[in-house]
Every structure is written in C-alpha cells, then in structure tokens.
Point group: C2
Chain length 115, copies 2
C-alpha cells in the first residue's frame, strides 16, 4: 500500500446502512485496499438520530457541526476537533444537533452489527 | 471498554520521539486501555520538519493548519478536513507550513520504527 491523502470530495457518499434518514458515509480506504483498517467520511443531516451497536472499534472525528452522543445513561456533546471512540460491542445513540461532517477510522473493517 | 469523548485539552502533550523540534503528541487511548488501536492528538510548530518510517498503519486527520506530506517523489498539501493515510512500512517527510493540529489513529498501537 502507498501513502494517500484524501479530501471530503474524494469520498463517494452513500446512505448509511440500517437507516433511511439523511446520514451518509463514504469509505476512502477499506477491505478492497488490503490493509487492516477502514477510513471514511460521514455527513449527518440536522435532527437525524441513529442508534448503533458497534461491530468493530470505531473512531469518529468531528470536522464541523455538532452531535450529541448518548451511552451508559449519559449524553456528551461533540463539536469540531472532538474525537468519539466507540469500542466494539458498545451501543450509542447519536442525535445530530447541526449538519455535521465527520471522519472515521475503524478496526477491523467497518460493517453493521448483526441484527 | 466504554464509549469516550475526547477534546484536545484531554491529551497530555509530549515531545514526539526521535526529534527535538516543536512537534508534540498526546495519546488519549493506547495499549493501557486494552483495545486494538491508539488514538491521539498532534501539535506541529510552523516550519518543523519530520521524516518518518511508519512501524504501524497511521491515519492523520488535519484539524487546523497546513502540512506538506512528501512520499514517492510527490508532495501533497493537507489542510483542515483532509486525511493522510500512511500504511505500515511507508516513509514520509512532513513539512509544517502553518501551526497545525491533527488527530491520529493507529493500528496496532503506535510506536517508533526500529532505527
């Protein structure tokens, strides 16, 4: 594999699996590239909500906007520059306060949890 | 492990190994926490230069500022919102154009390459 630089416009955004709202993800590196991790961008529409049980370790970096992340009975607000680490097996509820852009890195490759 | 949210002020910044300039890193998640990945923040002083051979897969997300990353005879400029993926075994030269803040995720845990 070689070094690569990505910008948001390099990602092909698709509706994120398991929801019908305005939440989109686009991988720029994934299992097709032969490495151990998936890298991508996320776009989250205002007032969208997503409940998620993590099948992999997921790191979300907030690039702009604001999300509320709820877990274990608490809610934290994440803004630009913040990092949310969602280890494998955890469950989170995400409420989008403003239109938000994120970057994500997962290990191993991202997939949805089994229903 | 549990879900956690981090901000830049949560990282304890230390001079990055192998250099004596104004380049600082601070892990917020690493091998002490029992998971597979390291997560942290980096701060890069203007005009600093770092040459680096990657011992692990390293993903650098630019939060603010501007870095030039050179590899394989090419140089790319990375600005806020850009992602640089440096796979294990690759060599890069980083020239800091402006004071820059980054987030990073590595798999497996970050360490310097053997000299």
């Amino acid at each position: 594999m070689k070094v690569q630089k990505f910008s948001r416009q390099d990602a092909v955004m698709e509706r994120s699996p398991g929801q019908s709202g305005d939440i989109f993800t686009g991988n720029v590196v994934d299992e097709r590239h032969g490495g151990p991790i998936t890298i991508g961008y996320g776009l989250w529409g205002k007032n969208q909500r997503l409940e998620l049980t993590l099948a992999v370790d997921d790191v979300m970096i907030i690039l702009q906007g604001r999300l509320a992340v709820s877990f274990d009975g608490t809610t934290v607000e994440a803004v630009a520059g913040d990092i949310v680490h969602m280890p494998k097996g955890t469950t989170v509820k995400i409420d989008v306060r403003e239109e938000t852009a994120t970057a994500y890195v997962t290990y191993p490759h991202w997939r949805t949890a089994e229903a």
